[in-house]
């Protein structure tokens, strides 16, 4: 079996969950080789090994943090030259997609973005995607070059499969373009203590019906009773009631949790685009005609300020 490069997404060596999903998917099509860029490989390597990385190619340089995207493309290209992989898997973040796309062009390879599943196939890996606001499911293949695929969070359940995970240094020489875009400052997001929106098993969202930033605590309380992440519609975000990082939909995050609870959200196509693939969908909305009800497994027609606190209370009581 050939080797599959997996670009590791991490914060100072703490490997993020989507990377473990990628390692799990990579094992279906070959032997995972993790590419770790930046500081913290000592922390990351044991985790990567546990999830099946036979090798960890590591490179650390100031360029990765000081300049946008291109240094990582240079590094991934060096890794591709070193191992001649059968595929390259990259987490489907905004940055991940840009890295993957530039790499694919350099390798003369096709690209598939935002895959929700990757399986082996006769003509190479087959990627599943949700398109047209998730109203269609497609299966696609790369026909030229080394398949480069970006994979969305929550696409597979990470499975441990211990492997050697030997760390090897990756030599990277940066090209002229690497230092083109300088990162002047970086302000990390403050942690809310809640799960990551894209990784959460349960997402509780609020829309225009929440009617003010001061009311979002109703949504947060429900989320906390379930250990869920908090999402918001664009209407709620544009009104300044909740941060843009929490927006669900076409121009926000796309989520695919086990359970999605939409409160005071009408269910516009652009919102559906980001949540339609959730396993179970629940909505609370006072308008019985709201399109969100076309999607739900369970819906309550009612005032969210009555229904949601009662639900929260009931959950808390049941948990005892």
């Amino acid at each position: 079996m050939g080797e599959v490069l997996v670009l590791v997404d991490h914060v100072d060596g703490a490997v993020r969950k989507p990377t473990l999903e990628l390692l799990t998917l990579a094992r279906r099509i070959g032997e995972p080789v993790a590419v770790f860029l930046g500081a913290g490989v000592d922390t990351a390597a044991p985790v990567l090994a546990e999830y099946g990385a036979v090798k960890v190619l590591a490179a650390d340089a100031a360029e990765f943090a000081d300049y946008l995207v291109v240094p990582k493309v240079d590094a991934l290209q060096a890794a591709a030259q070193a191992v001649e992989p059968v595929a390259v898997l990259v987490p489907s973040s905004a940055e991940g997609k840009e890295i993957a796309a530039r790499l694919a062009l350099r390798l003369g390879s096709g690209i598939i973005t935002d895959a929700t599943d990757v399986e082996p196939g006769e003509g190479g890996p087959v990627a599943t995607q949700a398109v047209f606001a998730a109203s269609f499911t497609t299966k696609s293949r790369i026909t030229t070059g080394v398949p480069v695929i970006t994979v969305k969070p929550n696409s597979a359940a990470p499975e441990a499969a211990p492997a050697a995970g030997t760390v090897e240094q990756l030599a990277v020489s940066f090209g002229e373009l690497a230092t083109g875009t300088k990162v002047l400052t970086r302000t990390p997001r403050e942690s809310t203590g809640r799960p990551e929106l894209t990784e959460a098993a349960i997402v509780v969202s609020g829309g225009r019906g929440v009617n003010g930033a001061e009311n979002f605590h109703v949504i947060e309380a429900l989320a906390d009773s379930l250990g869920a992440a908090v999402g918001a519609s664009r209407a709620a975000v544009d009104a300044g009631w909740y941060p843009h990082t929490n927006q669900v939909g076409q121009t926000g995050k796309s989520v695919s949790p086990q359970l999605y609870i939409a409160n005071g959200i009408s269910g516009a196509i652009q919102h559906r685009a980001g949540m339609q693939t959730s396993k179970t969908i629940v909505a609370v909305n006072k308008d019985a005609e709201a399109p969100i009800f076309d999607l739900v497994d369970y819906g309550v027609v009612g005032d969210l300020f009555q229904v949601v606190p009662q639900l929260t209370e009931e959950i808390t009581a049941r948990k005892g």
Binding site: L68, V73, R102, L259, F293, V300
Partner: protein, 261 residues
Amino acid sequence: MSLRIVVCVKYVPDATGDRHFAEDLTTDRDAVDGLLSELDEYAVEQALQIADAADDAEITVLTVGPEDAKDALRKALSMGAHKAIHVEDDALHGTDVFGTSLVLAKAVEHAGFDLVVCGMASTDGTMGVLPAILAERLGVPQVTQLSEVSVADGKVTGRRDGDAASEQLEASLPAVISVTDQSGEARYPSFKGIMAAKKKPVESLDLSDLDIDEATVGLSGSWSTVDEATQRPARTAGTIVKDEGEGGKQLAAFLAEQKFI
């Protein structure tokens, strides 16, 4: 010297329409009305603001697309762009992002540029990678996914709000940028703008004008292929209850039955 801005805009099927695939598994452009991608309106808007702040600037809007794509160019011209380039060729049907970026790169070079402005993603393809590929092809910096942008003294600076952090970026011109829907509402064309747009020049180019080999574009020049497209089955009708004072409890019972609590 005048600041030359090229804005890449895409003509897409209306997202609120019933979008489908054609028999060859490309986007069915006949089934649904087309329009200027809403996310590219933000690109036009930021280009107009950058031009306003500069002493002297000229905005060219550029699209690669079918005949009707002229509508997208007209809209951008009526918002205030100065001229347009339309690349149209039958051989372009089914072109993937690498083919499209090749054509755009050649057309941008043909126009001459200091700054290329793109949207964050197209509303049909939603890849959000074309600006990065375009920068790679043109050999200039990419300053992408900006929610705030400004240009001064031969430099572009902007804020990129990522998943883990918010970054302040800077690059020298020439550069390729993309802007998000957080960058500021796009203006509506005024009546005067709409009238003026009718007289603005639209240059039509085909592949031979840009010296592009047909084999590198189109469905057959694509580096990936869609083998299968199936409509997601309509979700089975769920239970809908009207809150008569017990709605929250009923919902809790459902969640318990589904083992969420």
